[in-house]
């Protein structure tokens, strides 16, 4: 059976798309953002065992070269995540779409849909197709929360049943993007246009961090890429960088001030954006 490594399933979330939704976080990402607020979702566990020894609940043990996590014993202190040298987590369960769907069903009738986030959900297109087909049988809308670095036009069947993508446009200049994530952004720009033209672009987000992120260029670049009507209808989230959860050079970096964010908002408004939210 086809499975995906699942880091976490939130039974309800108000911050993962329109209305109340179950949010599903897959494990593993194909890029490594310096400001990532859940870096423990970036890699699959390498089995190094660094987390096992100090687990205060005795919920971790080594078995045949792999770290095994006992959810029942786990006290949720997240120590294992903090000590992991590999930006991974031992608390990941491979699940079939059917199993994830069973968890989703526990939140009916309180939700209008599901959102698959990560990690990068675009790494698991077949899993997503299966999950979305199941969710649609209950009338739930299905969104992807994606970093946009996987060419979604290569998965027309998935895009047919996916109700929308919440897309990160992390930076506009190739070099800036590379510095931030370790990879290029040509595909992100392609996805931006492709998703907007196929009416699957639910929202665009920019995490704003002056010096690291060219948010101004992002706003201008997006507005040049899309039509005036597409811009007018597109929800734009300007997210202030926050250091919570961040590991590495930015872990104590301050957030940009409100004046900076309002400047960005004004710029976006001047480009024709009407649905702008500062978070």
């Amino acid at each position: 059976m086809l499975t995906a490594p699942i880091n976490k399933i939130l039974p309800y979330s108000v911050v993962d798309g329109p209305g109340n939704r179950v949010a599903i976080f897959v494990q593993k990402c194909n890029i490594h953002c310096a400001y990532c607020h859940n870096p423990e979702t970036q890699n699959l566990c390498s089995g190094c065992g660094a987390c096992v020894e100090g687990c205060p609940a005795g919920a971790l043990k080594m078995e045949q070269g792999r770290v095994v996590w006992d959810e029942k014993l786990c006290c949720g202190c997240d120590r294992c995540i903090k000590v992991c040298p590999n930006h991974a987590s031992p608390k990941v369960t491979p699940m079939t779409a059917q199993q994830v769907f069973a968890k989703v069903c526990e939140s009916i009738p309180f939700i209008r849909g599901i959102t698959v986030s990560g990690g990068e959900c675009g790494l698991y297109p077949e899993f997503l197709m299966e999950l979305f087909r199941l969710a649609h049988t209950k009338g739930l809308s299905c969104l992807m929360d994606s970093n946009g670095t996987i060419d979604l036009s290569r998965y027309p069947e998935l895009m047919e049943i996916c109700d929308g993508v919440m897309l990160d446009v992390k930076s506009w200049k190739e070099e800036t993007f590379r510095q931030l994530t370790g990879s290029g952004n040509e595909v992100v720009k392609k996805n931006l246009k492709y998703l907007a033209d196929s009416e699957k672009l639910t929202e665009v987000r920019i995490v704003c961090l002056p010096g690291m992120v060219d948010a101004e260029d992002c706003i201008l670049g997006i507005s040049r890429t899309l039509s005036g009507e597409q811009i007018r209808r597109l929800p734009l989230k300007l997210i202030r960088f926050r250091h919570f959860g961040v590991k590495g050079a930015l872990e104590n970096h301050p957030s940009p001030d409100l004046a900076y964010m309002q400047g960005l908002e004004a710029l976006a408004r001047a480009q024709g954006f009407e649905k702008i939210l500062i978070l």
Binding site: V14, V15, P18, G19, N20, R21, S107, F110, I111
Partner: protein, 499 residues
Amino acid sequence: MSNAVYDIITSTHLNYHQKLNNLCHEAENTLNVLELPEKFKYFYEYGALCDMNEGNAPYRPRYVMVDFEKFVRQGSKFLRIDPPKNLDELLWALEVLYTYIPSITTKPVYLGNIDLLIDPFLEGMTDEEILPRLERFLGFCDRVIANAYSHANIGPKATRAGRLLLQLEAKLQLEVPNLSLKYDPDITPDDFAEQAILCSLKCGNPAICNHKAHKDTYSFDYGISSCYNILPLRGGAYTLSRLVLPRLAKMAKSVDDFMDNLLPEACQALGEYMNARVSFLVEKSGFFQSDFLAQEGLVERERFVGMYGIAGLCDCVNLLLADKGQRYGNSKEADDLADRIMTYVQNFVANFPAKYSEIAGGHFLLHAQAGLATDEGVTSGVRIVVGDEPANLLDHLRHSARFHRFFPTGCSDIFPFDSTAERNPAALLDIVKGAFQIGDKYCAFYGADGDMVRITGYLVKKSDLEKYDRGEVVLQDNVINGSSNYKLNRLQDRKVQSV
């Protein structure tokens, strides 16, 4: 008695109206006119049956639900008010009438479905003309009535008046009127319901009432009064008395003793007491014979019911199962016992003959009583005690639905939210829709970081509680009740829902 009167008169902690009310209460309690059943006296001594301090000689119903639509159509001879012809006349007429509506609090507990009353008078007026008038009207409620049990309703349909009232509520941050939205997803548009929910996160009002679940409670339309009492319009509640379940549980030797002996005896005694009370009110007090509200048909005696209350189901079950450590809201065994207790009470009430209760088929109706200022170890109605709330809000709502089903005349939950929720009121509306679909009857939200806090079902400002606790005199009556209830029920520790 004389000491109590002297203390009231010389208090530097009560305002003039509060003193007057307390003196009235002392005067009423010099009488002993009710024929109290012996068993009632017995359980009353233990605090297991409670008369809600309604006073020894009822001279007005507890809650009066004036038919304001009728009043607007016919005016009032007694008050010398003609049917209003424009918004100013309407608001003035309502304000005058409000001051003559009696209740257990001495203030009107039901102010009408105010959006539907106001909306027809808005034609031809601009928002700029309407808003200051509505602001003064709400100010009248807040400053003159000044009692947060006074409850206005809006909805279920969206109206211009409803939207403007919500806009003002969010701006003015008023405890009075208490406000509820009658919500029905088939009638209430999402944007109006979302405006209401966002408003509640900002100022505590309105609470959301499951209209579909309540609209057929009576053969006549209903209104919501005080702390979520679902009552017939042009009628009301004679009385609300209650079983204080944890205090009854303390008297029990075992679960079987509780179920087989104490509960049946206490239920019977409370029913008999309520009949004695209702009889005096109807036959002797003269209210229904002489008050202009009855004479002009704004209330009708046949539309009143007695509310048979229960409180502290949670604490009761936790006490009965203490040796097993099973707790209500977190254990199947505890919840099943709670269900058994409620099923017994429900059957008792459905069979016990209540006097003068035509609108309820000759019986009392069950109410999940939300608390008294002095309650300690008595959690509101069937709510889960603070500290034991399930981690998953959806589990909490499912639990609520299981127990709300017993109560036709009001049962509710209160949830504080962190500020994240304000970003997405549509998400909270989805939760409300789900909750109402599975049978939840009522829920209230407020922002955990704001000044406003919902106590049992009414709002007070935390800043007013602090002021009162410093010994200062306060305008709002409910601060006095809220002050002790907030502490005794550890409301500052309510689980803040983070989503």
